[in-house]
Amino acid sequence: MAAVRTSSEITFNRVAIVAVLLVTIIFLAPIYWIASTAFKPRNLATTIPPTVVFQPEISPFVKLFTKRSQLRSPPSPEEYAAAPWWERVVFDGGEKIVRDGKGQVQWSGYPSRFLNSLIIAITSTVLAVGMGTFTAYGFSRFKVKGEADLLFFILSTRMLPPVVVAIPMFLMYRAVGLNDSHIGLIILYTAFNLSFSVWLMKGFMDEIPKEYEEAALVDGYTRMEAFFKIVLPEAATGIAATAVFCFITAWNEYAFALIMTNRRAQTAPPFIPSQVGSGLPDWTVIAAGTFLFLLPVAIFTFLLRNHLLRGMSFGAIRK
């Protein structure tokens, strides 16, 4: 029999759809704001009321990647005509691109900060998820003395706001020469993410039936082989979810990056706002930097979306 929907159900569904749309709009509004500002001409970035319809420009991105200085006088027509298009948009804004003695364009600090962010976030994610997976497997499959206490202890590292330990960490790092180094931030983020990774992976490992490994053991494999050939593929969903969370945490971390680094290993989060202070704030450049900064997480999450959504074990064990 076909289900008959009453009018109250239909009304409820409509209200629910409107509510979901509203929430979606509220959540996406800041993203839209950043993305649109990243393509706005500078003079339209701060208008009240906000400009919604405008001719998108690429100039904020050109400015983001290059070192610029204020023009004392407008460029000569020949100079303007000889300049490539991306230099002209900078001229239009009353600035010029700084070149070295050989005429090479000087890059801004953004690309290297972005690269630092990538190196540090990816490495610390791999380490935290890798170690977390092994630890969780151990806790899940073997009798560990004082297991509950150990797991509680592992979690206790998350029971205080990390910033509380920022000063002692800074002093320690300075003493051992780890400040402003990639390895320093990698260790820090790995340590910070590890407890989370262990707990999350433990949940996923507990869900994987022990019989799979036992079958592999009887089939002639060592425990290590069984782990890599059977448990890891089965844990892919959990690993993907944990990796996304660890990556986002490391990628977006601001406070430690601000305190522990200043140049060599500085990541993008402390760098982007530091641009506010030089001359009049150019919000379009900051928005462009932020917009680009959003992309890796969005892409990473998009690539892993199937793993995040897929169920754990799909019916090959009969319970």
């Binding site: 036992e214 079958a215 002639g220």
Partner: protein
């Protein structure tokens, strides 16, 4: 050629002893069924043989060599799990090929062997599928295929068809038996289902609370149960067991059940065969088919009243009131129309079993 022997095997889980001094010899090509209720130690025994559990004491010998210190991978034994444990991320082909890949065989060899096993089990058309796309019976076939493909020394099966529905279970039972006859490998099979055990086993090993109760062919454990536990565990409908008092009558022996007013007539030789146990606390065991019923009075038959009748298709089970005890008899279907009927019953002495009530042991009286 694979013989398996358990010598004085003991296993503890903390303070609980789950296997108590188990001794068992399994011959080459034999199909052994470990039968018992859940928690009796049968699965633990199987897992100990597979190498998935360590044992506290004793030896496990495969072909005369102790293997209790070897890893599961080094024992060359295959196992079929109740849950099937097919690897969900691999296709059926990959699942069956998986044990062969551990042996570092060549690709063509692996391919040949996988296809030949698939042919035997009639699952060739499933090779490309993922386990999640299979029915219960097919999963079971794949699990057996994965166990067979390596030609292991022995096959261990832990309630392999327990998760299937009744009809499929019957089909798979026949298939497993056919396969065993064809392949002829030493097989140890764990189940709590005595019908499965009876139909499959060369010999049945009955366990209870970690203790081996009896080892014997299906016929032996059915017709000569070693103790009260085996007597009541094997056979369906369950064997009647009642307190019995044996007295001497003029020309015969009389066995009175519980508080019944009169006794059933038994041959006089019973007294001598009980060998002095007649005065002890005895229990009589008789299977429903050993309770004979007729409508008219006859020599040696006792008048009883019928209670409930359970029609089971090919036969009926009728409850007869004997004192405060209930004696269940097997009759041809429709023989008794309902409760309250007066009939005449006797116990077939050749099918009667006498047990010592205190120890539960059979007194081995055969009339």
């Amino acid at each position: 050629m694979t013989q398996i022997e358990l010598r004085g095997v003991q296993k503890f889980f903390g303070a609980v002893q789950v296997i108590k001094d188990l001794n068992l010899k399994i011959a080459d090509n034999e199909f052994i069924v470990l039968l018992g209720q859940s928690g009796c130690g049968k699965t633990t025994t199987l897992r100990a043989i597979a190498g998935l559990e360590t044992i506290g004491e004793g030896d496990i010998l495969i072909d005369g060599k102790p293997v209790q210190h070897l890893k599961a991978a080094d024992r060359d034994i295959a196992m079929v799990f109740q849950s099937f444990s097919l690897y969900p991320h691999m296709s059926v082909y990959e699942n069956i090929a998986f044990p062969l890949r551990a042996t570092r065989k060549s690709k063509t060899e692996i391919d040949q062997e996988v296809r030949s096993v698939a042919k035997t089990l009639q699952i060739s058309d499933l090779l490309a599928k993922k386990p999640s796309a299979l029915s219960g019976g097919d999963m079971q076939r794949v699990a057996i295929g994965r166990a067979l493909v390596r030609r292991p020394k022995a096959m261990l099966m832990d309630e392999p068809i327990g998760a299937l529905d009744a009809k499929l279970r019957e089909e798979m039972r026949a298939e497993i038996k056919r396969l065993h006859i064809k392949q002829g490998s030493t097989t140890i099979y764990v189940t709590h289902d005595q019908i499965e055990a009876m139909s499959l086993a060369d010999r049945i090993v009955i366990m209870h609370e970690g203790v081996l109760q009896q080892v014997g062919t299906p016929d032996e454990v059915y017709s000569q149960p070693a103790n009260l536990f085996v007597a009541q565990f094997v056979g369906s409908p369950v064997m009647n067991v009642a307190d019995a008092a044996v007295t001497e009558k003029a020309s015969a022996a009389s066995v009175t059940l519980g508080d019944a007013a009169a006794g059933f007539e038994f041959p006089r030789t019973l007294l001598s065969k009980l060998n002095g146990h007649a005065g002890d606390a005895l229990a009589l065991g008789i299977r429903p088919e050993g309770v004979l019923i007729r409508r008219d009075a006859a020599d040696g038959f006792m008048a009883v009243e019928t209670q409930i009748v359970e029609p089971l298709g090919s036969f009926d089970i009728v409850d007869l009131k004997v004192g405060s005890n209930m004696l269940r008899a097997r009759t041809k279907s429709g023989f008794i129309s309902g409760p309250g009927e007066k009939v005449f019953a006797r116990i077939d002495p050749t099918q009667a079993h006498f047990f010592d009530k205190a120890s539960g042991k059979s007194l081995e009286v055969r009339l």
